[in-house]
Symmetry: C2
Subunit: 162 residues, 2 copies
C-alpha cells in the first residue's frame, strides 16, 4: 500500500484524496479519540508503516519514538484500540482516529485517557497545580509491564508509550 | 511566568504539577477540542511564549511553524478561541485545550474543524478517497485573508495556520 504523492496546495487542502505528510523524521502525529464519548485518549506518532498497518488491520499501530520501533497498541498491556474512523486535517499533516478500547484504557500509567490531569487555572492566574480527572486506574501497569523503573535512567526499559 | 522544571519520571507522570516538555525546536503539540461537543478542532504547536500567553490571557495562542512567529488564533480571521480548560497528558509532552469558538470555525479553509474529511475505508480496503463531513464553509477565507495563493510557491503569503 503506497500513499498518494502530495499534490498541489488546493488538492491537499480541499481535495478528495488522502495525501499524508510525514515530517523530516518520517512521522505524522495522530490524535486518538473515543468513538462514542469523543474523549481525547492520546497523541501518538505514526510512520508510513504504522498508518499502513492501521488501515490494513483496523487496529491502531504507532511508531514508538522511545523504542524506535513499530508498535501495535496494546500488544503488551492488552489495552488495544479497534479503529472505526480515520480522519485527516486540512493540510494533511495530522491523522485523527476514532476508536473503541478493548480494555477500557489507553494510558500506560493505567488511566482511561492520557489526559487525566487538568491545570488549575484562571486567565492570568495559576500555580501550575494539576487536578486529577480520573481517580482510579483502569488496570495495573505493574501487572501489565512488570515493576516500575527505579529511576529515569532506566525508563526506556519500560514501554512508556504502550 | 516560568514553567516548573521537568522532575523525575514519577513526578512527571503521576505528580500534581505542570512540567511541560518542549521538544528540540522548543515546541509542544496542542490538541484543541470544542468544550461542549468534544469535537477535535485542530492540532497546533506552542512554544513557551504561546503556552504562557494562553494561560495569561485565556485566548489560544500558537507558534506558527510556517511563519516562525507567535500567533493569537483568529487575529486575522476573527475566528478566535476562548480557552476554558487546559489538560496535559501523562508524559507532559502534549497539551489539550477545551475552547469555545467566537466565530464558529477553527479551520483556515473555512470549515468548523480542520478534520472535515474522513477516509473511505474498511480494514484492508481503501482507494484513499476522502468524504467531506462538512458541506458548507462557516466563513469565507478569501474575505478573511484575501485572494488565495495561485501556487504552492506563494503559499507562505497566506496564513495557512490561522
Amino acid at each position: 500500500m503506497q500513499f498518494p504523492e502530495r499534490g498541489s496546495l488546493h488538492e491537499i487542502e480541499e481535495g478528495g484524496r488522502l495525501m499524508p505528510l510525514f515530517d523530516e523524521r518520517g512521522l505524522i502525529p495522530c490524535i486518538t479519540q473515543d468513538l462514542v464519548s469523543r474523549e481525547v485518549l492520546m497523541l501518538g506518532w505514526m510512520n508510513r508503516e504504522a498508518l499502513r498497518k492501521t488501515i490494513e488491520t483496523g487496529w491502531a499501530h504507532y511508531w514508538s519514538r522511545a523504542r524506535q520501533r513499530l508498535w501495535r497498541k496494546g500488544e503488551q498491556s492488552g489495552q488495544a484500540q479497534r479503529v472505526r474512523r480515520i480522519l485527516i486535517d486540512d493540510d494533511q499533516d495530522c491523522v485523527l482516529l476514532m476508536v473503541e478500547l478493548t480494555g477500557g484504557a489507553s494510558c500506560h500509567v493505567g488511566y482511561r485517557s492520557c489526559f487525566f490531569r487538568e491545570l488549575d487555572w484562571q486567565p492570568g492566574q495559576t500555580d501550575f497545580h494539576l487536578t486529577y480527572l480520573e481517580h482510579r486506574k483502569v488496570y495495573d501497569p505493574v501487572k501489565a509491564y512488570g515493576p516500575p523503573a527505579g529511576s529515569d535512567a532506566v525508563q526506556h526499559a519500560r514501554p512508556a508509550e504502550d
